[in-house]
Amino acid sequence: MIEMQDVWKSYTNGVHALRGVDVKIDQNEFVYLVGPSGAGKSTFMKMIYREVKPTKGEIFVNGFNLGKLKNKKIPYVRRNIGVVFQDFRLLPKISIYENVSFAMEAIEAPKKLVRKRTMEVLTMVGLKDKVKSLPNQLSGGEQQRASIARAIVNNPSVIIADEPTGNLDPDTSLDILKLLEEINFRGTTIVMATHNKDIVNNYRKRVIAIEKGQIVRDEYRGEYGYEN
């Protein structure tokens, strides 16, 4: 599913973001990625959707060797990966419905399917009644639900969530986690970077801790925390 073999990443400014990462994440796993800021979590995640390329080592996602992937093929790899961000990244001037359908239109999905599938995912995330609202008319939790709807609308096999609860209060964060769990339950792999100790400790899953560009701990049903 997702496999990294001795992956290194150095940026041109001299930062060594990843230093020899070996990891394997199977289909339908739910993984928390923890670690201090600047440890390399973001690079780890960007690597999966080929936003960054490894300096050294190999990375396979859904059977694609991303290090050797031609730029032209990148879009097709990404169609199988949904990405969720801390700051939602919704387009401010268009409705929630359009924000979600936009992701399908961008990959030229048939029109009929767009309408059907968009309503389907918006219903699933509980925004059926807010489809006509603009993003700024919704609460933070609702906006994050919309962004999750956008991430799953094209039926990806992996969801990459970069601190999806970072801007949300504890109750709302829990709602978002439960939504991700539901998506995971339906067969989608979830990789979620988080600083939320309560969630990690109360909803036990595989925990990968990264520090200074290396995996320092990899435990199933692990606790929050890293070495220092």
Binding site: V77, G82, V83, R89, F102, A106, I107, R150, N154
Partner: protein
């Protein structure tokens, strides 16, 4: 690409043209001005070519004789000219007749006020060549007649083609200048367009990054910018084409309706240059527009 997708790209592209109001306006203006200059020059060139063709077909060669020639010598020269096989007709125009024609052309003006009773005009022969392409031969043969006499009786050989040649030389001068102006303006236009499109790219930065994230192809992302550049070029070329064609039509109309036309030219009919002009200006405008958008995409759109 699907038709519906193309429809989307066109909508997006046109929307941006309006969204970037002033920048679009500036781009369109620069294209329009440069194409206007180019178009005006093209019309001029086509007309000069048309004129030279008409003149060539009915070219008359005037052979002016030295003022002092006696009637005898005139006859000798006439016989000489008649032996040239390429000459199809010879008419002798004595200087009195020449003066008459001149004063008729001057209208109210009384030439005797200037010349008194004397006639400053020379006698002349008016020749016609049997074929337009033989005019040059006739001219050189007539000029060669001078060598047979000590007095060099022929003052000057003049023919319409000369005027046309001067006109052509003049227009080729204009051509160089206007090509330089048009090239400069085209460059400026491209700069404006690439800037306009840069604005679109920046304002749609977030949208583009999301499109990339969900797996839109590069082509899908680029198309609206192509369309935007295309539209700027198209609008920028339609305006000067319309203005020029309307203006030319009005000019012909005016020249034909009045005896006091500025020129005595026979104008190239409108329908003979309409399609050439539309095709030329629109394709150049569109190339400039699309080129500008490509420059901008290379620089600012890393897809």
């Amino acid at each position: 690409m699907k038709i519906s997708t193309l429809g989307r790209h066109v909508r997006e592209g046109i929307k941006s043209v309006f969204r970037n109001g002033w920048m679009s306006f500036a781009s369109i203006s620069v294209i329009a001005i440069s194409l206007f200059i180019l178009g005006a020059f093209v019309i001029l060139t086509l007309n000069v070519n048309h004129l030279s063709k008409t003149v060539e077909e009915q070219v008359e060669i005037s052979v002016y004789l030295d003022v002092v020639e006696s009637e005898e010598q005139i006859n000798v020269i006439q016989t000489e000219i008649a032996t040239i096989p390429e000459v199809s007709s010879i008419t002798f125009v004595p200087k009195d007749e020449g003066l008459e024609t001149l004063s008729e052309g001057m209208g109210e003006l009384d030439l005797t006020e200037y010349f008194g009773e004397s006639n400053p005009l020379p006698d002349k022969f008016t020749l016609k060549a049997n074929k337009p392409e033989n005019v040059d031969i006739v001219v050189s043969k007539v000029e060669a007649i001078n060598d047979k006499f000590e007095m060099m009786p022929i003052e000057q050989v003049d023919y319409g083609k000369k005027t046309v040649e001067q006109l052509l030389a003049f227009t080729s001068g204009i051509r160089t200048v206007s090509i330089a102006i048009v090239a400069g303006l085209a460059f400026t236009a491209m700069f404006f367009i690439s800037n306009t499109i840069k604005l679109t790219i920046i304002s749609r930065n977030r949208e583009i990054s999301i499109m990339k994230l969900v797996g839109a192809t590069n082509g899908f992302i680029r198309w609206p910018f192509f369309i935007e550049g295309f539209m700027l070029g198209l609008i920028g070329s339609i305006i000067p084409t319309g203005v020029l064609l309307y203006g030319y039509w009005k000019l012909i109309d005016f020249e034909e309706s009045t005896v006091f036309g500025v020129t005595q030219w026979e104008y190239l009919p409108l329908n003979q240059l309409t399609f050439q002009l539309i095709f030329l200006l629109c394709s150049i405008g569109i190339i400039i527009g699309v080129w500008g958008s490509i420059i901008s995409m290379r620089k600012f759109l890393r897809v």
